[in-house]
């Protein structure tokens, strides 16, 4: 009954989305206020019905209603409650429902809080958002109905893939989707602006909070996913350049570029066409990611079960949305005239370089991900692209970007004195050289990229701090510094935090990739082994039982120079329903490094295969990502960005008053 209710709600939502898509668009073209006014309530109604559908599905999962097909395929009565709830989006149909839910949230948010938008722009933005919703709701109702019933219902479900039975599942997909789908707002704004034929500083102001919110979520989602795979998959790695990982990285790269080019549009009325293109392409990458995961053209850990029919539908959506908007771009963008002029060496110039490098990064990831597919289509023989390629090709551009990142914020708008800026970075350069030298000396024989990575991270960190210090005049007028610090706009703090966060993350990535140490050996109870100054004593294994699994649990006592450090309990679990074993790594962190232990089941003689890792600086990767997201949040909370540019009428009125 509830499932049918949910189904019906989806149909109603589709009807509302159609209304939201067609009427406001026509109304804006014909200056019909009534039609334009349909947009906001339609968006709110759509959210209401999709939310009903979503919670109906969740209810089916939580109550273990196995007559609903997706619940039978992905859940089990013995599963803990939190995973039953999270399983709602752990499959193709449910995750699509989450997709449209977040789409509706953004639409309703603009509908409700976007009162300072000019009516025509608002109507068009919501109309485009509605069009996207129509596409995805139709997709769901026609090919991927989450509420399909099974008759007769099975006695119990097929269980959720044990790898997904983890708190990370509750967090990672919704966060990611908030990011992916959030960029739909920037897309809608861009398309609306292109239809209107006008892009100005006000547009950039309005678009920025939504883009920033999506960016924060995507950053958190990607970092969360990376952390989850680190502790869940048991091989100590945190990024595999898997096609679907790449599918989340591409919108992130383009979204970061978009955030920065929107600044130029806002402050200097320039880079308009490029920003439009970025807004379209960022969301296009989100859609391509959706296509990748659900069409079956590429295999991946992340791929849902493939069905070419679904793939064709999504491709159709892609062609209409992206093809249509890019055609609109080709027609309308040439008439966008840029305003402010600037020299190549200037803050605008550095932002252009930033955008270029991020875009090339996106191209690299795109090529690496899709080249195997294209080579296959052309019958050019199979090629495969893995981590070594990205390391060699992506990193140099990233390195260049980081170098520029420390200099850019120090440059003024319009025209800058590069030599002067570099001079102000003398301290940062010195710190970089010292750090590199230290690493070279401490880690002799280690890889070169370790030294480079530390140098880049320190350079960026110091450069960011120097810029902040200059802004508050800490050396110039120390007495005033505190006052200036309090008066600095939040967006400035946001930038400092985000850039510093990236620096910290880079240090973390370097540490782990360059100086990871490992021990691989068989151990019997009582055996001891040393790794990176720590002594690990294997104390044996025990059989334990969890709510829906059985496990072999090992115990390691870790000491350093005799002082106890920690006790590690890695596990090898077996989930009976799906018969899939998983390894649960035991991780201990002291903030500077991770001790990571994995075991395999004991062999006939009682010896256990043990893999121990020492991962320096790994926690900094996620600490850095948290800083970046925090920086974004701080920037988002800046009232100036959310209020948007005041309308001319109110400004004049205030002047008269």
């Amino acid at each position: 009954m509830i499932a049918e209710l949910g189904h019906f709600a989806l149909v109603l939502a589709l009807a509302l989305a159609l209304a939201q898509a067609v009427l406001p668009l026509a109304g804006a073209a014909r200056d019909n206020q009534a039609w334009m006014a349909v947009a906001a309530p339609a968006s709110q109604g759509q959210l209401l019905f999709i939310a009903i559908a979503f919670f109906a599905l969740m209810q089916a999962y939580v109550s273990s209603d196995f007559s609903v097909a997706v619940v039978a395929d992905n859940s089990n009565s013995a599963m803990p409650l939190i995973y039953k709830a999270a399983a709602t989006w752990g499959n193709h149909e449910g995750s699509l429902l989450l997709w449209v839910l977040i789409l509706a949230v953004f639409g309703a948010a603009v509908g409700t809080f976007g009162n300072n938008l000019p009516p025509k722009l608002k109507a068009r933005v919501l109309a485009v958002q509605g069009l996207i919703a129509v596409g995805f709701l139709a997709f769901m109702l026609l090919t991927s109905n989450p509420f399909a019933r099974l008759d007769p219902p099975p006695a119990d479900g097929a269980d959720l893939n044990p790898l997904l039975q983890d708190p990370g599942l509750a967090f990672h997909p919704p966060m990611l989707y908030f990011g992916y789908v959030g960029f739909s707002m920037a897309f809608s704004f861009a398309v609306a602006a292109l239809i209107e034929g006008r892009v100005d500083a006000a547009w950039a102001r309005w678009v920025r909070p939504w883009t920033l919110a999506a960016w924060i979520a995507l950053t958190a989602g990607i970092a969360g996913g990376s952390w989850w795979s680190y502790y869940e998959l048991g091989w100590g790695g945190w990024w595999a350049w898997d096609p679907v990982e790449n599918a989340s990285f591409m919108p992130w790269l383009l979204g970061t570029a978009l955030l920065h080019s929107a600044i130029v549009v806002e402050k200097r009325d320039a880079l308009k066409s490029w920003t439009m293109l970025l807004a379209i392409l960022t969301f296009a990458m989100s859609l391509v990611g959706t296509f990748l995961v659900r069409s079956g053209v590429l295999t991946s850990v992340h791929a849902f079960a493939s069905d070419p029919r679904r793939g064709v539908f999504i491709l159709f959506l892609l062609v209409i949305a992206v093809g249509g908007s890019l055609t609109l771009f080709a027609i309308r963008a040439p008439s966008l005239r840029d305003g402010g002029l600037f020299q190549p060496i200037s803050r605008e110039g550095s932002l252009i370089l930033n955008n270029l490098l991020l875009a090339v990064g996106g191209v690299i990831v795109f090529l690496g991900t899709f080249m195997p597919l294209f080579a296959d289509v052309l019958h050019a023989g199979a090629i495969s692209v893995g981590a070594p390629y990205y390391f060699l090709i992506f990193n140099p551009f990233a390195a260049l970007l980081i170098v520029v990142m420390a200099v850019g914020p120090l440059l003024p708008w319009k025209r800058a004195d590069l030599a002067g800026a570099l001079q102000r970075l003398t301290a940062a350069s010195a710190a970089t050289v010292v750090a590199a030298g230290l690493v070279w000396w401490l880690k002799t024989g280690g890889p070169l990229f370790g030294v480079l990575g530390v140098a880049l991270g320190v350079w960026l960190l110091m450069g960011t701090l120097v810029e902040y210090g200059e802004r508050i005049g800490i050396l110039r007028a120390p007495g005033d510094a505190w006052r200036r610090a309090r008066q600095l706009p939040r967006a400035a703090y946001g930038m400092t935090l985000a850039h510093a966060g990236l620096a910290v993350a880079i240090l973390g990535m370097t540490g782990s990739a360059a100086w990871k140490q490992e021990q691989v050996l068989m151990m019997r109870p009582g055996d001891t082994v040393s790794l990176a100054g720590y002594d690990y004593r294997f104390d044996g294994v025990a059989d334990v039982a969890g709510p829906n699994y059985t496990a072999t649990r090992g115990t390691f006592t870790v000491t350093k120079d005799g002082t106890p450090v920690t006790i590690l309990h890695p596990e090898k679990r077996k989930y009976p329903v799906q018969g899939v074993p998983t390894t649960e790594a035991a991780i201990h962190t002291n903030g500077l490094a991770d001790l990571y232990a994995v075991i395999d089941s004991p062999d006939d003689a009682g010896a256990v295969s043990v893999h121990l890792y020492h991962q320096p600086l790994v926690p900094w990767i996620w600490a850095g990502a948290v800083l970046m997201a925090l920086g974004g949040l701080v920037s988002l909370s800046d009232r100036r960005l959310r209020v948007g540019a005041p309308s001319r009428r109110t400004a004049v009125a205030m002047a008269r008053a």
Partner: protein, 190 residues
Amino acid sequence: MTTAPDRPAGTRPRHLLYLLPVVLFVVVAVYFLVALYSSRDPQEVPSALVGKPAPGFTLAPLLPDLPGVARADLGGSVVLVNFFASWCVPCRAEHPYLGRIAKDGGLPIFGIVYKDKPDAARAYLAELGNPYARIGMDDSGRTGIDFGITGVPETFVLAPDGRICYRQWGPVTDDDTEQALLAKIKECRR
């Protein structure tokens, strides 16, 4: 705000530049479409050995009354080489088709037992029947690697000159696949 002066001559190339994104997108979309309709399973790794001579190998026999398989036994006529194992479920599904293919194609099938226990393999054949003219045992899987297999079952069509004509990835479990394989065998004869 001043309006920029009209640009007569320079605008055409600029306008074409704006078309570049949509053109590139169309190219990519076409690739995606073709990829969707290609019937190839994305997990299938194309064989690197098609058109090349079969690798050298000599495998001990499984059954006392049936000879083993070696490179020397290939050549002279079109032959099928089928990798299988008793622990392989799709191999069981494929099994009934093998005898038919041997008959309709008019060619012998050589079986290679891949990484299996001899007793288990013998029991498998006793249970399901034996369509093979020769059977060899590849305990270590090294011959399989030499043939570039990634699992079982995989079936190779070998030409009379000992070259690999075609590789069937995955089991033959329906009439369509069977017909396709028979067609390839016929092609190979020419």
